[in-house]
């Protein structure tokens, strides 16, 4: 089922003419005949959950927006996408910029935002031009600007480039950065819905979330909610990478199993070179890594599906999270210690340094992991790592601290034997990998 990427392969869809010919902007025509509050209602009914990582119900978030008289409200589109493994927003913006603009127009109307911002990560250097071209075309054709479709509603969209910081994807750091300040997350409360950009009520949503507003308005919230399963409604973009035959961005409806997603030719197409699946980080670098046995089946032995509930089944003990949809697959040749070090290095580099557990703890974990990876570790280092992550988690200003702690915790929880092997075999671990262990996927290797 495709709702977002269905026309991604249409010739010239990046430009207005082709986009409009293929039914683009019809949702705006429909939405502007509705009352803003009814649009919010539709989104509530759709069950859409934020695609930026936390999975918070979008309609509910919108209904929290304070609406005091005489103060502007803002909608900000979070296009900072910097989570390792996640590259779905990039695909959307690059190939279907008008879909995002269309979603932004309806959402701005629903929320009463006359000035809407797209905050895009600095490293996506070529995409602002694509977005600005689309905004220009939308302006030329009366979808943006003053008095849109005679509704009396004015709206303009601005693209702001970040300077390349993962932390500026955290919504309050993003707002600070947008205001021209140092990108430090704010201390909450107050939440952006009350005091956000320039101290005005603000909604920050992910690119994919805002694009999904288009099909929701087109088909109606109730119809949208029929796709998927349980509280995982609609479709989800998954950016798959790592040891798979067909890395890329896939739109799935959230009823398929993880096994199908990895092995079917429609999606990842299996593991290359006849290797076997060892582990997977199913939702972007921040979520817990799972060994193959817990990835394909839950601890209760049930099939695990690609949706919010099923991926988090078992909590952190035996489950993971949907996160931002960055699906990273590791085959038997990958080293979990090295992988964890890579992630720890990332969080150390990206911590804003505001609060002490994250500022100091991320560097400490990185250094201890470095020692283990390079054969200089001690057995006690493994418990030390566990203790450091435990003291970071939950004690920081923003979730980056948790995001740094979880991957380390999960790696130790599920792959402790590999860590111990590294410590006990300092020389051997420099020349070969631990390889598969009891947690390997039992599937026969097809050579």
């Amino acid at each position: 089922m495709k709702l977002l990427l269905d026309k991604a392969n249409v010739e010239g869809i990046r430009f207005y003419e082709a986009y409009r010919k293929n039914g683009g902007y019809s949702s705006v025509e429909k939405a502007f005949k509705m009352a803003p509050a009814d649009i919010v209602e539709e989104v509530k009914k759709s069950g859409l959950r934020g695609r930026g990582g936390a999975g918070f119900p979008t309609g509910l978030k919108w209904s929290f927006l304070a609406k005091p008289e005489g103060i502007p409200r803002y909608l900000v589109c979070n296009a900072d996408e910097s989570e390792p493994g996640t590259f779905k927003d990039r695909y959307l913006m690059e190939f279907l910029p008008h879909l995002l603009i269309e979603g932004l127009i309806i959402s701005s109307f629903a929320l009463g935002s006359n000035r809407t911002y797209i905050y895009i990560r600095g490293e996506y250097a070529w995409i602002p031009d694509i977005l600005e071209q689309a905004i220009y075309e939308a302006n030329q054709n009366g979808w943006l600007g003053k008095n849109i479709l005679g509704s009396g509603f004015d709206c303009q969209i601005y693209v702001q480039r970040g300077a390349g910081a993962y932390i500026c994807g955290e919504e309050t750091a993003l707002i600070e950065s947008l205001e021209g300040k140092r990108g430090n997350p704010r201390i909450k409360p107050p939440f952006p819905a009350i005091k956000g950009l320039w101290d005005c009520p603000t909604v920050v949503n992910n690119v994919e979330t805002l694009a999904a507003i288009v099909p929701i308005i087109n088909m109606g919230g109730i119809e949208y909610a029929k796709i998927g399963i349980g509280k995982s409604t609609g479709t989800k973009l998954i950016s798959a990478c790592g040891n798979i035959n067909k890395p890329g961005v896939y739109e799935i409806d959230m009823t398929i199993s993880v096994e199908e997603f990895i092995y079917s030719d429609e999606y990842c197409g299996g593991i290359p070179n006849g290797k076997r699946l060892k582990a997977c980080i199913p939702g972007g670098s921040s979520v817990p890594i799972l060994p193959a046995n817990l990835l394909l089946k839950t601890a209760k032995g049930e099939t695990r599906y690609m949706n919010y509930e099923s991926l988090s089944d078992g909590g952190f003990a035996t489950g993971s999270m949907m996160g931002s949809g960055g699906f990273i697959v590791l085959d038997e040749d990958q080293c979990v210690v090295r992988n964890t070090l890579t992630l720890a290095r990332f969080y150390h580099h990206e911590s804003c340094g505001q609060c002490s557990p994250c500022r100091e703890g991320t560097g400490w974990m990185k250094r201890v992991l470095y020692n283990i990876e390079y054969g200089k570790g001690k057995l006690s280092d493994i418990d030390l790592l566990w203790d450091i992550q435990r003291k970071i988690e939950g004690n920081t200003i923003c979730p980056l601290g948790d995001a740094a702690a979880w991957p380390v915790a999960a790696a130790i929880r599920h792959f402790r034997d590999e860590f111990e092997w590294h410590v006990l075999n300092p020389e051997e671990s420099q020349v070969r990998n631990f390889g598969l262990a009891h947690y390997a996927d039992a599937r026969e290797v097809v050579a």
Binding site: R182, I187, C352, Q354, S356, G363, K391
Partner: protein, 382 residues
Amino acid sequence: MAEEVKKEVPQMFKVTIDNITVEVAPGTSILLAARKIGGDVTPPAMCFYSKLKGSGGKCRTCLVEVAAGSTADPRPMPKLVASCRTNVMDGMIVKSITSEKVLDARKGIVEFLLLNHPLDCPICDQAGECHLQDLSYEHGSEGTRYEFQRRLFEREDIGPYIQLHMTRCILCYRCTYVADQITNTRVHGILDRGEHAQISTYISKAIDNDFSGNMIDVCPVGALTDRTFRFKNRVWFLKPMDAHRDCDKCCGRVTLWNRGDEVFRVTARKDEWGEVEDAPDGKPGWICNTCRFDKKKTSDWIIEGPRKIKRHSVISAGHYVGTKKPHETIAEVMGGRHPKLLMDIHTVSEVNKNSVHLSAIEGPATAEVFNNGKGTVLPSPK
């Protein structure tokens, strides 16, 4: 008939912290409510400063457990919260030292704060009145588990009056709030991010304005020190005296730190939480640079009398009022706790050795290292 003024009597909120109930006005933070109770239940605060708007939330030493949110919604809060930035609700139940979770987290935070700290108390001017030193004695572990090279920075003179020792900075941001809120311009700030974050002026600018000296007073550690006082004396050999003068720039109420008749340094008056004390007429207690750096003669001042330092730390142990070197070891002063982590400042000289650079030592430095002259001797800073 007199106009009937119906004044809303502000309803008071009842909050229970470690089984002690106090009433505070709505909008009070848990930390300030706890300070009203005082004593051990008050969480330590390294970054919050009640006189600086927007401060707090960063160091995380003040984390507490909220066992019940309020009478209306008695659910516990899922995570520990920063008491300095969380307001009380009526009927809230807070656990500080009665919560294992809090004590454990606090210990962790102290370890994090000391991770990159050079532990160079014997050569640090803040020793004896340092909040980090107090914090580590009261809440820290006895040793560090960190085995790596600490962050190194060059000492830097930021303007004519202040020296910056970035190695000791805990990034509490207080000095930036002072510059924003007390002085007329801010020319310094935090550069870079994460562990590389540092206080600096933008391209070696000098901090030069009438109230910049207050940055020294708010700095909880020895990162910002008074260049007119550095290495002149140990604070515990000095006798604090309250004094005042007519000043057209500030309140003119200060504490003089004397040895005999000689004024070694001038600071603002600080309360038991280490914060600058407001004047009785409500005037802010910040002092200007003229009072702080230029008026160093007893004759410049009208002396009010000795000042009792209420804080729990070396200077307040009552041994510094004379000019003799104290005989007690720090373990005695600190009620039996042996300093393993921070060096014993009492076994070292009266005056700090400027030439020793202890941050260059790998691993924890000890008094032995110092006394044997093993500290890397660096050329004096520029």
